[in-house]
Symmetry: C2
Amino acid sequence: MRRLLFSALLLAPALTTGGGPSTGDDAVERLIAAGLASDGAYRKLAYLTDRIGPRLSGSENLEKAVRWTQEEMRRDGIDRVWSEKVMVPHWVRGVEHGKILAPTEHPMIVMALGMSDPTPPEGITAEVVEVASLEEVKALGDRAKGKIVLYNKKIFPNGGSDRGYGAGVGLRYSGASEAARVGAVGMLIRSLATADLRTPHTGAMAYKDDAPRIPAAAVTPEDAELIHRFLAAGEKVRVTFTLGCKNLPDAPSANVLAEIRGGEKPEEVVVIGGHLDSWDVGQGAQDDGAGCTISMEAIRLIKASGRRPKRTIRAVLFTNEENGLRGGKAYAETHAAELSGHVAAIESDSGGARPLGFGVSAGPEALATVTRLAKPLAAFAADETTEGGGGADISPMADHGVPQLSLRQDSTHYFDIHHTMADTLDKVDPHDLAMNATAMAVMAWSLAELDPPLARYSPPKTEDASKPPGIRRP
Amino acid sequence: MRRLLFSALLLAPALTTGGGPSTGDDAVERLIAAGLASDGAYRKLAYLTDRIGPRLSGSENLEKAVRWTQEEMRRDGIDRVWSEKVMVPHWVRGVEHGKILAPTEHPMIVMALGMSDPTPPEGITAEVVEVASLEEVKALGDRAKGKIVLYNKKIFPNGGSDRGYGAGVGLRYSGASEAARVGAVGMLIRSLATADLRTPHTGAMAYKDDAPRIPAAAVTPEDAELIHRFLAAGEKVRVTFTLGCKNLPDAPSANVLAEIRGGEKPEEVVVIGGHLDSWDVGQGAQDDGAGCTISMEAIRLIKASGRRPKRTIRAVLFTNEENGLRGGKAYAETHAAELSGHVAAIESDSGGARPLGFGVSAGPEALATVTRLAKPLAAFAADETTEGGGGADISPMADHGVPQLSLRQDSTHYFDIHHTMADTLDKVDPHDLAMNATAMAVMAWSLAELDPPLARYSPPKTEDASKPPGIRRP
């Protein structure tokens, strides 16, 4: 139970030094004072999670959220609020059960990976072969034939692309096809998890066109460890699992947009946003209800400040990040002609924990500039900037040179609950969320005022095609 | 993945100071050296959990464990190994599902409390009323009529009887009958949990003879929080849940005993033990496979030392601690005539994490004596002694004056996984378990040698009858 007396926020460190000079931008100081004293982001998130719920692409809940977020931003008085239709994949979960049959019977909790085909109704029963990388599965050759491949790679908090989520996501996304190529009949993956309470973690997978399609599911860290112990002892491990999930025809959804028109250069735009869809388990509170409500509250704070920015500030709540990135792609296509005037895009998609600052992928001097703009956020320690930033939904804009920023949170516990039934509102601290909305508002405002704008971005050409679109670049 | 190079144990701090005087008891030093270098407890625990599995009273697995632990202790060369038949309750889990129906539909994970009656096949559907104590439920009066009572009390790590498990266990054990007395039709309890990954925690409940019997289940912390948020907002909350559990006729089980006969006073006995049964979910690794294998390894270490203790040392693996305490009661009855010669009983039933030392409930000076005996355990920081100790299984011996000791572990994370699907071997560190077995061996040996023995125990007469037998005394 994390409850906040918002009055306590008023006791935050004084934002101007008594008698000393002000920081020079009165608008930023006002945004900080108003943002830290507001519970607006949390109230919006509570509605999105408790009153609507999880928001998988194709679900009624997602379309409720598309409607409600527009209504809410209209109530907040944002200049213009609208939606842009996007057709999205429509995958639904079904029955899920599993069991370790030998050498000793044990229950095995399974959770289908998003977009997986179902198993036959009687399930798949086979011996398990364990690997920890896509290279290892390729090297299996005939030893995978007729077997179920278990990708068993432990990830660590703050492990990054080396030992963290980034090191495992390629296995989840591409592992089924690579296993099928060497003859496997099913694919299991140890949940990409940094905590272990027998909770499975779902997430997107995709089939390659030129490989057989085999069902794919996550197992809990505990069951992966148990299978590992048996295999390490030289035992043959037989398991069975059944998935009733299915892919239905694409369904209509929409990106939600809201903007405050710039007073001087309205055709130049700062985009802020997160993604409105979530997995079907849990409430999609941290992933990414937080990012959406941070952005909604940020644009509300700017509107409520009564000051009009030089450039346009646009909040975009993207649809279908989780299993298709259709919203992010559609935005970049629909707005292709405007992207040369998009001076920056900031995504928040790593939860609602305490903000650390911003990651930046843009041209020369951009990091130094963002570091300067972030200085007032030192009032609540959210001024740490790092080279490298962005987000899956804004990544399609990268090829148009749009500077990519991420609002960075303390993600130490993010992968404890990411893509699980435990991604629920109770994990979000209202004060943390208020700080995030404030940081987003300040950076959006400051980039909308900045002259000259950040230098354009030239993304690296190298890509890791085993990973989901949007996180393929190093 | 907690893996240990046991060779590292050989690098433990030197146990005698170079050139200085020895501590005087060569046997204790040898036990420590041998215990810290052995992976025996972990290997036994791995068999009990991975090769047998969970061990609910009445299950085939529990009787497998009754047989295997005897075979294992015979292999270890213990002087005498036997079992003593005990009839135990035979409760089995069935289908379990739940849902929050209003004000917004959400899934609600339910897990039947042990010994609960089932719901009707169509489940129970009613409005929820929330309380945090047995006093509050009594005060509800007519407001509970036809409703489902939710006991929503958060517990905290190391919270003790004030804010920890001890503060909540009475709600779980007695809450259904107290709710039924004021007309409730069902009882839910927020899991007695110190972590939250949407994992429910089961545990024993009991019906009072003079109250109606209503079904009882645990919900996850997340779902309890969600219901609380709705109620706090003034909403009516309607839920439905279905339980297919049932109580079958009592089944045969057994306590397992193994002893090394004392060389001088064989009729005087030091009992060490834990309980062999577990809940049906998880593997019963921490609760209490750890306590059993700590005791099995402790008696093996003493036997392997080649030294015969003055008094008899007896390991007892009690059956049916979780939902009946029949094993503990049966031991005290069967051995009633010997209990005046039982000089101490030590139970380990708080997991297998790092040992801290011992808790002591006995007569004058006993704590000081145990503190002195524990001094050699300072070599691995397991020499912290506290007033107040014992365990549910040995508690029936308290009325006979038998000094009660507990082997105490760091239980900071114990209630994260206690009574859950996540109580699995991977949570146990082999080195921690070796230290526990060593501490148990040293204390058992030292009490078997001690002259005069610890002063007899006079337990307090006051009891909290709302709590399960065995933990009713303050």
